[in-house]
């Protein structure tokens, strides 16, 4: 990074100019794991979006058929129209409600069970084998069965999300709990703590930051399962909006809806990031 700093400091002022070598372009930008200037990082980040937009515009111009690839401008117009005339925000609201409700139910069950599995061999030995097996069964494959069992209502949507989130999250939380260093617990014992005190004063707080990270990751997956469930059968929601748009051959609306989901994902991610930063200011940052 600034490996030359000590050298320049040691050199007398007159010699400083001579010793400060200008590093070449390749050396600055193509050294593995080397940080690049902040401005360059920002430019590249924004640039990638510009490139995507350019390619998209170019592609839509070449294909010249809004049915297959509408231009970015057309998608924006479609989005405004959807909000104004199609009650699209109502669909967004329904999807968000389902996500939040399904996710909360799954998390409320997965986190305690995962913590118990990670700390008690007895609980782990009992629950882990079936959960490991179910984890590999895609939640979307359950949808037809759930429709038979629960019909087309909200229960079915929530169950799909629950299946998609619960089994993954349980195992992630279990790993987190399992990784709590035993020395951390042992210190508490030698300070006179009882097992219960060790559990709630040391073990639980030690897992919190990573549990929130796990929630953040699984929240992203919840969106995938919900949209699939809504695509299969729903009267409301972003997924059903996409399906109806397909019937009317409105690729612009489909793209606008997909982008909306992406935006909602970004917003939830940002919320989790804010929670993490304010609740766990003591966590050492791995990335700068």
């Amino acid at each position: 990074m600034r490996d030359q700093a000590p050298l320049t400091q040691a050199a007398p002022a007159s010699a400083r100019k001579a010793t400060r070598r200008r590093r070449g372009f390749l050396r600055t930008y193509l050294t593995p794991k080397q940080a690049i200037p902040r401005e360059a990082r920002l430019t590249l980040g924004i640039g990638s979006f510009i490139v995507i937009l350019l390619l998209w515009t170019l592609g839509s111009g070449l294909i010249d058929n809004p049915l297959f690839l509408p231009s970015p401008a057309r998608v924006v117009t479609a989005w405004i129209g959807m909000v104004q005339h199609q009650h699209f925000l109502g669909d967004v609201g329904w999807s968000t409600f389902r996500i939040v409700a399904g996710f909360l139910i799954a998390a409320a069950m997965a986190v305690p069970l995962g913590l118990l599995m990670g700390s008690f061999e007895v609980v782990r030995a009992f629950f882990q084998p079936p959960i490991n097996a179910i984890r590999y069964m895609p939640a979307s494959a359950f949808i037809p069965l759930l429709i038979l069992l629960q019909g087309l209502g909200e229960d079915e949507k929530l169950t799909v999300i629950w299946i998609g989130v619960f089994f993954q999250l349980v195992l992630m939380v279990m790993d987190i709990a399992h990784r709590v260093p035993s020395e951390m617990l042992n210190v508490a014992y030698t300070l006179g703590a009882s097992r219960w005190t060790v559990f709630y004063k040391v073990f639980l707080p030690a897992t919190f930051p990573e549990v929130v990270d796990a929630l953040r990751i699984t929240m992203g997956w919840a969106w995938t399962y919900l949209i699939v469930a809504e695509l299969v059968a729903a009267e409301r929601g972003i997924g059903s909006f996409i399906l109806i748009s397909e019937r009317f051959l409105r690729a612009d609306r489909i793209i606008a809806a997909i982008l909306t989901i992406g935006l909602l994902g970004l917003i939830t991610d940002a919320i989790f990031a804010v929670i993490h930063r304010s609740a766990f200011p003591y966590v050492e940052k791995v990335h700068a």
Partner: protein, 263 residues
């Protein structure tokens, strides 16, 4: 008066490749207020012996007695300091130090008074409200020692506490620890593989054999206290050092040979 006594402590582990004898019939007594060091080649079971003393693991045979009472479970009478610091990252320096007092339900004012004193003594002034992530390795270990001392244990067990520190910091920490011991006169059992450290700190050095661990030699360190950096330069220090080095070297060679024989 608080002595710790090991009576015929033996430890055997069952593994897939058979039984491993980690400790064999160890008997020793650390009398009240003594600073005892355990040194030995790596893998000789010195840390295991310390965990037995802490009550964290149960010996296969024998007993550990603190003031004549058996110590089968961990307790506040035996404070422990680990090499890995094991601070609680979500607590400030002050609350880490007060952890044991909080468990004991010591009133807030008294807690504060004690932690403030230790923070000053451990040269942590200005860091009371900092989280451990802001501290250097040496500072983290000072917090860990303060946390153990705040609890006022009868015996202090230290498992290679300075093993992860760089040589310069380690020297500073050793000086700080002798000063502290001078002040508190705790009974200390200190595990290390650093011979200089053992001589500098200890009243008595127990040299352990390679696995299965036994006490091979007991050496009294008759260097006068208080000790300081200059102690390291004396002729007598060197003599003691050569004695211990000779024994440890022999044991380390045995350890290497038995590893080769097993391979």
């Amino acid at each position: 008066m608080s002595e710790i006594r090991f009576v015929d402590v033996a430890m055997r582990f069952k593994t897939r490749r058979g039984e491993v004898r980690a400790l064999e019939r160890i008997s020793l007594t650390v009398p009240d207020g003594q600073f005892a060091c355990l040194v030995g080649p790596s893998g000789c079971g010195k840390s295991t012996l310390l965990s037995v003393a802490a009550g964290l693991i149960t010996p296969t045979e024998g007993d550990v007695l603190v003031d004549g009472k058996p110590a089968h479970t961990p307790g506040a009478d035996r404070g422990m300091v680990f090499q890995s610091y094991s601070l609680y990252p979500w607590l400030s320096v002050r609350r880490n130090i007060e952890f044991g007092l909080e468990i004991k339900r010591t009133p807030r004012g008294e807690r504060n008074r004690q932690s403030s004193e230790l923070i000053h003594l451990m040269k942590l002034d200005g860091f009371a409200e900092a989280f451990p992530k802001a501290l250097s390795g040496g500072m983290k270990q000072r917090v860990a020692i303060a946390r153990a001392l705040a609890n006022d244990p009868q015996v202090l067990l230290m498992d290679e506490p300075f093993g992860a520190l760089d040589a310069l910091t380690r020297q500073i920490m050793q000086e700080l620890l002798t000063d502290l011991w001078q002040r508190y006169r705790k009974t200390v059992l200190f595990v290390t593989h650093d011979i200089d450290e053992a001589i500098f700190l200890g009243d008595v050095i127990y040299v352990m054999t390679t696995r299965p661990g036994k006490i091979r030699t007991t050496l009294t360190v008759d260097i006068p206290r208080p000790r300081s950096f200059d102690t390291l330069k004396t002729e007598h220090f060197n003599e003691l050092r050569n004695q211990v080095v000779g024994v440890i070297h022999e044991e380390s060679m045995k350890a290497v040979e038995s590893e080769l024989a097993r391979a």
